[in-house]
């Protein structure tokens, strides 16, 4: 042990020597005694802090609120990508100057049924409106694990008057559920539109679907893909609709060198977001976990880690983030997972 190291040890020991923590075993016991997923009053302030911080960091918090009849609080969706975020923790991927990242929701597989995942789409237009969002829904997502139900021409235009979002759809989708589309997929297709447009306007406005009949005529659609739409559609509950973990960074195909910034949103047991990096053969080469800013309410919370990949050989890798499953698969359907392929130079 050299002199310098010895000094550091003594310094840190001395610094902590006077610290006598209070006894919190009782508080820990109280929290571990009840079933894991309960909601307790003592956690309420934490939720508030997380939501406030999410807004400060410019990250996207998806709040459900307790009651669909009430307007839902929504953290502000950044109007433009925060490419200059000095902290480096922003949830929106950096965009080239003059472009913005538009969030769009796509179908992907969850543990037991399809769910929606969020992907940020590049837009060349700095002032993209709602049409930019519906256009994104009719394009293939970058992540090969995701898919969209919408084809070009299905969604025609969108508008927002400050209270309600209106979407014009083609007559072809304003009707019964097509063969080959499951009820769940149809429901998610409609929610793709709702969540994507709500993210764009930064609020939980209901979405009215109109059928475009040409010559400037339109009527409210009774059904869209077999889903009732005879009144404006609200967002379905977050945790029943969205993947419980979603990776924002790395983006599909992102190239990194020594360090991999990883972030996204999650609602995972005790805020733990385990991650792994797999090589081209699927072998785990690095693993760890990130901690989200909360987990106790019906929303998704930001998480972020910075992973040192300097020792990885150049090549293609897969980043896997999942929700924590303390039962090890014994209970429930197992964890949610989101994967992104990226490249180490």
């Amino acid at each position: 042990m050299n002199h310098d190291e010895d000094w550091l040890r003594r310094l840190l020991d001395d610094t902590t020597a006077g610290i006598e923590p209070s006894d919190r075993l009782g508080a820990i016991r109280q929290r571990t005694a009840a079933p894991a997923r309960r909601r307790q009053a003592w956690l309420a302030p934490v939720v508030g802090v997380a939501a406030a911080s999410a807004a400060i960091l410019g990250s996207v918090a998806l709040l459900e609120g307790g009651n669909d009849d009430e307007p839902n609080p929504v953290a502000s969706e950044p109007a433009t990508a925060r490419s200059g975020d000095p902290s480096g923790w922003g949830q929106v991927p950096p965009a080239a100057p003059g472009t913005r990242a538009v969030p769009a929701y796509y179908l992907g597989e969850g543990p037991s049924e399809p769910v929606l995942y969020r992907e940020f789409r590049r837009s060349e237009e700095p002032l993209a409106g709602l049409d930019q969002s519906i256009s994104a829904l009719m394009e293939e997502p970058a992540d090969p694990d995701y898919r969209t139900v919408w084809s070009r021409g299905d969604l025609i235009s969108a508008d927002y008057d400050g209270e309600e979002i209106t979407v014009a759809v083609s007559a072809g989708v304003a009707g019964a559920r097509p063969a080959g589309l499951s009820a769940r997929e149809a429901e998610l297709a409609v929610q793709q539109v709702v969540y994507t447009l709500q993210a764009n306007v930064g609020g939980r406005a209901p979405v009215a679907f109109y059928v475009d009949e040409g010559e400037n005529k339109s009527r409210l659609a009774a059904q869209v893909l077999g889903v009732r739409a005879d009144e404006p559609v609200r967002n379905a509950p977050v945790l029943k609709t969205l993947a419980h973990v979603s990776v924002t960074t790395p983006e599909t195909g992102q190239v990194v060198d020594a360090r991999l910034p990883a972030n996204g949103v999650a609602n995972s047991f005790e805020a733990t977001v385990p991650w792994q990096i797999l090589d081209a053969d699927g072998a785990v080469v690095l693993s760890g976990f990130s901690t989200a800013e909360g987990w106790t309410s019906n929303m998704l919370y930001p998480w972020a880690s910075e992973i040192d990949v300097a020792d990885l050989e150049p090549g293609g890798y897969t980043f896997v983030a999942s929700t924590d499953d303390p039962s090890g698969g014994a209970e429930g359907d197992g964890p949610f997972q989101d994967t992104k392929e990226f490249v180490v130079e």
């Binding site: 001395d14 571990t32 805020a271 733990t272 976990f289 901690t291 800013e293 040192d308 020792d311 303390p326």
Partner: protein, 192 residues
């Protein structure tokens, strides 16, 4: 792992052999008894503030309880607790960095201009100087330094805890200790 157990546990052998039959509640009691204080001290070195540090470690224990069925071994549980404390501290700092960096600097300035006269006050002042200097280091350097020199973890254990390579641990340790000595040069001479 043995170096950690020797350092942190009064009787390491008992814990290692007995741990196999623990349930989650016993694991919390035993690990709390053996590590609560050192983990809170670790968290103080990371987040500066004792109240926050206690909350961070408390959350880590609750999380460990939920995960016990997959940990099952005391040394794995301890490694999980350490990793959880580091991650949660980082999460706390991310909030704080944005909110009150300014306040923090003012507080540091205040501490420096108003030292007490007696030995206890001088000790307190020295400790807050060290915590302030740690707080100013880049996050990784701070984490590596406290895991290396406070918990006495090996480079391999630190690499596992932080999810970084051993090479990165080495370089963060050397840059971090140089930076800390630069900031606390006066104390270094005083204690040498």
């Amino acid at each position: 792992m043995s170096d950690v157990l020797v350092r942190e546990l009064p009787c390491p052998g008992v814990l290692v052999t007995a741990g196999w039959s623990w349930d989650a509640d016993t694991a919390v009691s035993e690990l709390y008894a053996a590590h609560w204080r050192s983990l809170v001290r670790l968290a103080v070195l990371l987040v500066r503030d004792q109240g926050t540090a206690e909350e961070v470690v408390q959350d880590a224990f609750v999380a460990m309880h939920g995960r016990w069925s997959r940990l099952r071994e005391p040394d794995k549980a301890l490694a999980y607790l350490r990793q959880s404390v580091v991650n949660r501290s980082r999460s706390v700092l991310r909030h704080r960095k944005v909110v009150d960096r300014h306040l923090l600097r003012e507080a540091q300035a205040g501490e420096r201009v108003a030292p007490g006269a007696d030995q206890a006050a001088l000790d307190d002042e020295r400790r807050s100087l060290v915590l302030a200097a740690l707080a100013e280091l880049p996050q990784r350097q701070r984490e590596v330094l406290v895991l290396r020199y406070y918990l006495d973890l090996s480079e391999a254990q630190i690499a596992d805890t932080l999810g970084v390579s051993r090479g990165a641990v080495k370089s963060h340790a050397s840059r971090g200790s140089a930076a800390l000595r630069g900031r606390l040069g006066g104390l270094w001479k005083e204690q040498s």
